[in-house]
Symmetry: none
Subunit: 218 residues, 2 copies
């Protein structure tokens, strides 16, 4: 069975909505797909006919087992291509999304297997999101320092590499400890400093040296 890029995009969007909101309705899916609810209804019927969805009119819908598998395959392709674009072609992690949106629909499975191999079977993409393996399994946690983690996501501090007294003094000042929740709002190219919002604290700036030593998960 093969699917159009549009069908694949619907499946991916439904997967992400189910992950984030627990469920998904026609209207919310229409917003996610930048289209109208009527259009979504038509597509739901088509996806049901292809056995990717359970669907009962007016009641709701959810991915079938094979819908779920397809979603994970598309996400796998997307994230492997993002990894390739950043780590092999030298793009910045904020430039690669729209390219990966196209590349994820290239059909060959063998291509993805070989790409995965070529990249060293990475478990996380450049945004820190986990890459499903060949069987659709996800690694759940990843720790990276504040320089490499995505902006505007809630991060939980997991570890601090340099644990000198001087460093800990500074972290205390920022009210940063293990388990602290924070967001990186902005990075400044000039000196690698970063604007952050620590839970319940005012917005502030940390230096590059600090940011490189603070490891978080998403």
């Amino acid at each position: 069975m093969s699917f159009t890029a549009t069908e694949e995009n619907y499946i991916k969007a439904i997967y992400h909505l189910q992950q984030r909101l627990g469920k998904a309705g026609t209207t919310v899916l229409a917003e996610a797909m930048q289209t109208r609810p009527a259009t979504v209804t038509d597509m739901l019927k088509k996806l049901e006919a292809k056995k990717l969805l359970h669907y009962r009119r007016y009641k709701g819908f959810s991915l079938t087992e094979s819908g779920n598998r397809l979603a994970l395959l598309i996400i796998r392709k997307h994230r492997l291509w993002e990894y390739f674009l950043v780590h092999k072609l030298g793009f910045n992690w904020d430039e690669v999304h729209y390219m990966a949106e196209e590349l994820e629909h290239i059909s060959s499975r063998e291509l993805i297997t070989r790409l995965d191999q070529f990249l060293g079977k990475p478990a996380f993409d450049p945004h820190g999101d986990p890459i499903p393996d060949g069987k659709g399994r996800l690694k759940t946690i990843r720790q990276m320092n504040l320089m490499t983690l995505p902006l505007k996501k809630i991060l939980v501090v997991q570890s601090v590499r340099n644990q000198s007294a001087d460093m800990l003094e500074l972290l205390n000042h920022y009210h940063i400890g293990i388990g602290t929740k924070l967001k990186v709002l902005r990075r400044f190219a000039f000196d690698g400093s970063a604007e952050i919002k620590v839970d319940k604290q005012p917005i502030t700036i940390i230096s590059n040296q600090v940011a490189q030593n603070v490891y978080c998960c998403i």
Copy 2:
């Protein structure tokens, strides 16, 4: 201006027909596109409206300057991706065509620029066909097929004209690939077959059909 994959495929097919046959008619283009002449006529009008074609009904058509540029860009993408698939992912040269047919429609120009860089700006793809550079220029090496080249000289295989899976299978059997060194020892008038010595292989015979498709330089 952006184009659908179908439009791009028509432009590419017209370019190749013009190169190989000097001109192209509706019927011949329909065969190349595996569709009907009526469908081709509709598309010709669309491509004319997009200024990729000169078209006069019943009289014929040819690529405009921008049509030509687009064709060369698509061919560039196709051949760079083939190079990537063979030299980075380890595919055989007879496995990559269909994947490249999809990859050539990925839109980002920056992606192609970076891919070109990453691959070391190759001038020839794994089949020996020249890769247009960023400005659409092609390296042309004087190549002749095995029927027209002198006997008993060391020849280097540069390209293979018929790139069907059947042909590539046969060439693999002979251990002939791009860059292979060989000599033509003798030609037989009866059926146009040729006795050849492929580098490190025993002396063997190839048919006229094969000889006509293998292009070498001295």
